[in-house]
Symmetry: C2
Subunit: 141 residues, 2 copies
């Protein structure tokens, strides 16, 4: 089981807007051609990124642009904006038996550790900005 691709699609989307934004009108169809998904998926992604204050989208005339400094957008920001994980990363079985000492305390002993693990992952995503990714782009081309 893997997390939704919304996150990587969102990162890809932002990079396309950055790279082509100066020279082309970057429409949902244009981005979709690079990511290789349906344009509607990109439009939904753009709405999420817009709600997070990262991009502007021109209804009618068309075209997306980045409205925030790439140094100020971390992978964690994109991850959160994409909304592929709501709240807790780990999933608990519902209603463990409260009459059993283990079932009664399973959350008490596990929750904090799982939260730590999730925080460690998110903290790592926070270290990387889109500006870092852009810097790596040409070098690997």
């Amino acid at each position: 089981m893997q997390l939704s691709s919304r996150f990587t699609v969102a990162v890809h989307t932002l990079l396309v807007i950055h790279v082509f934004g100066k020279t082309e009108k970057v429409t949902s169809e244009f981005i979709a051609a690079s990511v290789n998904v349906n344009p509607v998926v990109i439009r939904r992604t753009l709405q999420s990124l817009k709600a997070a204050g990262m991009v502007g989208v021109k209804a009618g005339s068309g075209g997306a642009s980045i409205v925030k400094d790439l140094h100020d957008i971390s992978l964690l920001d994109v991850y959160r904006a994409a909304g592929c994980v709501e709240g807790e990363l780990f999933h608990f079985h519902e209603t463990p038996n409260p009459d059993c000492p283990v079932g009664h305390n399973i959350h008490a002993v596990l929750d904090a550790h799982l939260a730590d693990a999730q925080a460690a992952m998110e903290n790592e995503l926070k270290k990387v900005t889109l500006a870092d990714l852009v810097a790596e782009l040409p070098a690997k081309a």
Copy 2:
């Protein structure tokens, strides 16, 4: 989107076996009553834990037992044994456009960072052993 509950169910299962193993025959039905899932789900969990060398299960007569020191079983071990994530945690859209500079390089610029984030999470799980959890159990009861 959350990870499968297989992981937390597996932890719960191991704790039940530990707590009741001395005094009762811990069957899949017994564990299922604490976790509050179907006994077959527990049997499948037990097979995974058995394959990982953590438990022994008596076919026929019934009952599961732990066959490894709890100090030597980390949450990461259980996480891996439960198999709720195969390989990569993050999911990529398939076949990004290789003719686009972004599509062509998206893996090159993202893979390492995502692997770092996943490793940070797993590393945190590695720090906690089942013995730690057991130590926390009575204190919170």
